[in-house]
Amino acid sequence: MKEFKYTEKKDTRSGFGAGLLELGRTNENVVALCADLTGSLKMDAFEKEFPERFFQVGIAEANMMGLAAGMTIGGKIPFTGTFANFSTGRVYDQIRQSIAYSGKNVKICASHAGLTLGEDGATHQILEDVGMMKMLPHMTVINPCDFNQTKAATIAIAEHEGPVYLRFGRPAVPNFTPADQKFEIGKAVMLNEGTDVTILATGHLVWKAIEAGHKLAEKGINAEIINIHTIKPLDDEAILASVGKTKCVVTAEEHQLNGGLGDSVAQLLGRNLPTPLEMIGVNDSFGESGTPDQLMEKYGLSTDNIVAAAERVISRK
């Protein structure tokens, strides 16, 4: 099992903030909108340096999505920022009609996704956002794993013409992606080549998948670990190639099992390569208050859960 080194833990939302600031300096068409969460989204540096291109919308997310759609007319590339819950469920119809169906070049940037938002509880811990967004035609859905990858993804989506949902989070997680790694939308990142089981992870679960890989290696299991940062379009080729080799697969994500990465992988394999599959995610339940670690443990999203799922799926081969 390959070693992955990191010097510090950082939050993915700060990766977004850093990427947005860099975009401000390199692409004059990039504008940013925020619904009263500038500090939480780490958009304050952009606001300070480019006040004329920053739009404080107030607590009015529906309006923010419409504004962003309108701002594209004339060539701007709007990045909207608020929590994942208010970026999706609250404004689904606005995104559907004014952005996705209208094919607008809006980047919906969503922080505090999933259980790791922590103590605020289930009202804010959206676990359905990836499903809602991936169901929309034209929408690209990205869930990077660490600070560096989130920064690179933020920069990459500005070059992509069309609506994008970029999902990231609040907690500090190991920052192991090389800072110079180019982000390619829809291209899975092979982290560890293996032969016994494929682990497909996204977002905060990628590091846990790496931890699981080490634990599996101690048991003599050689796991292939792939970072699926883009859930739509899914890297079918990479997944089918890996699963064709290992003959079994575990998916891992901080999202409902319904509608998430595992759901997309199940569809892909069901149609092309029926294979034993285990899915790590939240099983049709809302979250609750607690620390991120406590919640990931309680809802079955821990490193040990991935290890157990891998052993289970291998036994089903």
Partner: protein, 317 residues
């Protein structure tokens, strides 16, 4: 004397309009109205547009004639006299042009007819309205690239936000042209409209002329019975808008009101026209009731309507 209704779909007229622009304006930032019709001509065009509307909805036994007929004079005024734009080739970004957004997308028949007769696409395409494989969807859409449409609408309450966003992009781009948006009065029940109203005033979006089609009707009955709108002038003034009132079914009064609205732009406030119209205007049995909001005439009713909508020389598609 028989006056010919202008064959606006004729390419010669397009080309001469474009040529005129090229000769008189070296930059694209100063488009003019390509038609600039007299009031007498506007009346003829309006009658032809109303013929199109009743024929379109009759042909598919569906669609929304009431609001379309009520707003015909407004659309004809904008596209044949007031707005500065270039119908062909259509430019999504609309730089150097006034932009128009229709928020109450269900009155698509009037918009489609006016767009066709103003030269955005061929008049004969009106025959495809609401049919399979048509670009003229029941509600306006951009999906198949219908010229003149810049965002999908139909799910209500979203158009003002989009228009405000587009107006802000115009300011960023130093484009001095205006943005127009039409909403229904029943549509004001949507909270997003008031989010956008608050935002536009706060941000001094004064290159925007919004219009409310004040016909006092919505699907379930009168607006004041369903959800009373009350004193809209006082409401929008309290929100920080410059408010004008207009008679939407009388060119002699509507055109000066639209000119007043133009003069009111650039003064730090968004401009609102509360436009009184009569639903179904021009067809006596469709007037004064919400009954014809979304109902098509039968064969006999169509004949009566067409008799009432006589033009000196009809150019029905």
């Amino acid at each position: 004397m028989v006056k010919l209704l202008p064959q606006i779909n004729n390419l010669t007229i397009h080309n001469s309009a474009i040529k005129e622009l090229t000769i008189n304006n070296l930059t694209i930032l100063n488009n003019v109205n390509p038609h600039n019709k007299s009031i007498e001509e506007l009346k003829e065009i309006a009658a032809q547009v109303r013929r199109d509307i009743v024929r379109m909805v009759h042909a598919v036994n569906s669609g929304h004639p009431g609001g379309s007929l009520g707003c015909t004079d407004y659309f004809v005024s904008l596209y044949f006299r007031v707005m500065n734009y270039k119908p062909s080739p259509f430019n999504m970004d609309g730089e150097g042009e006034d932009l128009f957004f229709l928020s109450n997308g269900h009155i698509s028949p009037v918009w489609y007819s006016v767009l066709a007769r103003a030269g955005f696409f061929e008049v004969k395409e009106l025959a495809t309205f609401r049919k399979i494989n048509s670009r003229l969807q029941g509600h306006p859409a951009t999906e198949e690239g219908l010229e003149g449409i810049r965002v999908a609408s139909g799910s209500l309450g979203q158009g003002l936000s989009v228009a405000v966003g587009a107006a802000q992009t115009k300011k960023l781009n130093k484009d001095n042209n205006l943005v127009y948006v039409l909403m229904g009065d029943g549509e004001l029940g949507e909270g997003q409209v008031w989010e956008a109203a608050m935002y536009a005033a706060h941000n001094k979006v004064d290159n925007l002329i919004a219009t409310v089609d004040r016909n006092y009707q919505q699907i379930d009955g009168g607006t004041e019975e369903v959800l009373s709108l009350g004193d809209l002038r006082a409401k929008f003034e309290a929100f920080g808008w410059h408010v004008l009132e207009a008679d939407g079914n009388n060119f002699e009064l509507l055109l000066p009101a639209l000119e007043d609205a133009k003069r009111a732009t650039g003064n730090g406030k968004p401009v609102m026209i509360l436009m009184d119209t009569e639903m179904g205007f021009g067809v006596d049995f469709m007037m004064g009731s919400h009954k014809w909001h979304g109902v098509a005439p039968n064969d006999e009713q169509l004949e009566i309507a067409l008799q009432q909508l006589a033009v000196q020389q009809a150019s029905d598609y």
